[in-house]
Symmetry: C2
Subunit: 109 residues, 2 copies
DNA sequence: ATAAATTATCGTCGATGGGCGATGAAAGGT
DNA sequence: ACCTTTCATCGCCCATCGACGATAATTTAT
């Protein structure tokens, strides 16, 4: 089940690649956020709502608390999750819009 | 349009997170492959079939040939693309199965 | 005011990423 | 045989990742 070979030069010219700098950058940023097993796992945990507080996530991840906090920060900076302070704890949840954007950018490939 | 807050503890226990080490690892690997603007762009170029030979890709990317070759190697190692030697040139094409796996792993989030 | 609990940040360390130029390897043409 | 073309690889550089322990910061409870 292999893909077809190269197109001829004329066929190629018929299909210029649209500029996609924005899409590429967004895809790269969002994809990179989940491009680590621990972060993928964190997203799954948050989506399943089996936990949302940092400490609980730490319990499920065999990683040091500081490391998990770093991953959470990365996910947050990418916009994939949001953190809400609740007393001394912080409740994280997935930003559904960002997740939708990630899915869209992947799906359009 | 914010997500709901944390669930109660009992609600949480009702929804354990299934182990997803395999899925996490696969997602991480595939997502990481496209987690760079240049590689995202390369995938788009190959999908649009506006080019498939390394040199042509280089022409579209304002990057050194060696750098592009590195990115192609990364994409190939992740399984997202395949290279076929054609004389002195190498014709790259996306592995549709791998791309489908990436989409599936993202979609299941 | 203190103490405890929770999370974020800092500093460090080794490993890896990403860029480049230069060089090497393989195939074709002359 | 030689040269050209094309691509991969190497070595180098600097920046960042990812891990950790230790420490700070913030909030609640006593």
């Amino acid at each position: 089940m292999k893909s077809r070979k190269c197109l001829t030069e004329s066929e190629q010219r018929a299909r210029p690649v649209p500029k996609s700098d924005r899409a590429d950058a967004e895809l790269a940023q969002l994809a990179w956020a989940v491009a680590h097993p621990a972060r993928a796992r964190i997203v799954r945990i948050l989506l399943a709502r089996s936990a949302c507080v940092c400490g609980e996530i730490v319990d499920q991840l065999t990683l040091a608390q500081s490391t998990v906090s770093q991953h959470l920060k990365i996910l947050k900076e990418a916009g994939l999750i949001e953190g809400e302070i609740e007393g001394p704890k912080v409740c994280y949840c997935v930003n559904q819009q960002a997740l939708a954007r990630l899915k869209a950018r992947i799906e359009e490939l």
